[in-house]
Symmetry: C2
Subunit: 126 residues, 2 copies
DNA sequence: CTTTCATGTTAGAAAAGCTAACATGAAAGC
DNA sequence: GCTTTCATGTTAGCTTTTCTAACATGAAAG
């Protein structure tokens, strides 16, 4: 499933294509970017390049606006989502077991404690 | 799975993107088109638009050429493939059972024979 | 040595995209 | 009512990208 993700996040679509795919105007798309709702990549020549994920997000934005949500509201939603994602990532990164933690701290102590005289490998009982 | 196919055959990628995705030059890509190996769509303004399927085919072409197959050879391969596909499609369309065939022929005869001298529905033993 | 093949290179034109600025209709707030 | 704000339209001038067409070329084939 990694390849699909990769393809969906490949920034390869130019403005014109995205306009057609979303039925938004260039003005709208650039405005949403200016408001921080999307961040397309840029080509060497400074042209915007969008991914399929970007297109999906633009469609979402379109729907939110059609539902009367204003841009500040949409931004709030996305900020919240990314905060949640961050938290999840931290959580995922934290599948450090207690054992892992102990090992890491131990390493840390060994490296530190090793100042003038390699401290003979004293093992603190963490 | 229809959506995936649709996306893969959506012609949305401009030349520059395809160049990067395939590491081919514009000259090469246009030449392969001139030789009938690919047929990208065109934008209103006459710019070529490629799909992900096109990109895959270009990568195949690149590999064939690297393996010493010349363009005529590649074309032969693709012609053969599409012939095979055609045949398969016909075959798929042909899940007409003998019974179907008989019914169709019968209808045909009835419609035809049905005027001056209704041939009384004679059934030829096909 | 002459063709053929696959590709490079160049020139001139047109399309597409960029930024920046000003314009505007509808809502919101006073 | 009048004034802001929001989301979008419009325009202008400029740069990048792509297009076609033509000529150039190295390697292989004959």
């Amino acid at each position: 499933m990694k390849e699909k993700e990769l393809r969906r996040s490949l920034a390869v679509l130019p403005m014109g294509t995205v306009m057609k795919l979303t039925s938004l105007t260039a003005r709208q798309i650039r405005y949403y970017e200016a408001q921080g709702l999307i961040t397309p990549e840029r080509s060497d020549g400074n042209r915007r390049l969008y991914s399929l994920n970007d297109v999906d997000r633009l469609l979402e934005i379109r729907d939110y606006l059609a539902d009367g949500v204003n841009i500040a509201g949409i931004k709030a939603i996305y900020d919240q989502q990314s905060a949640a994602t961050m938290a999840k990532q931290s959580a995922q990164q934290q599948p450090l077991t207690d054992e892992d933690v102990r090992r890491i701290l131990q390493d840390e102590f060994i490296r530190q404690g090793g100042l003038g005289h390699p401290n003979s490998g004293i093992q603190r009982p963490f």
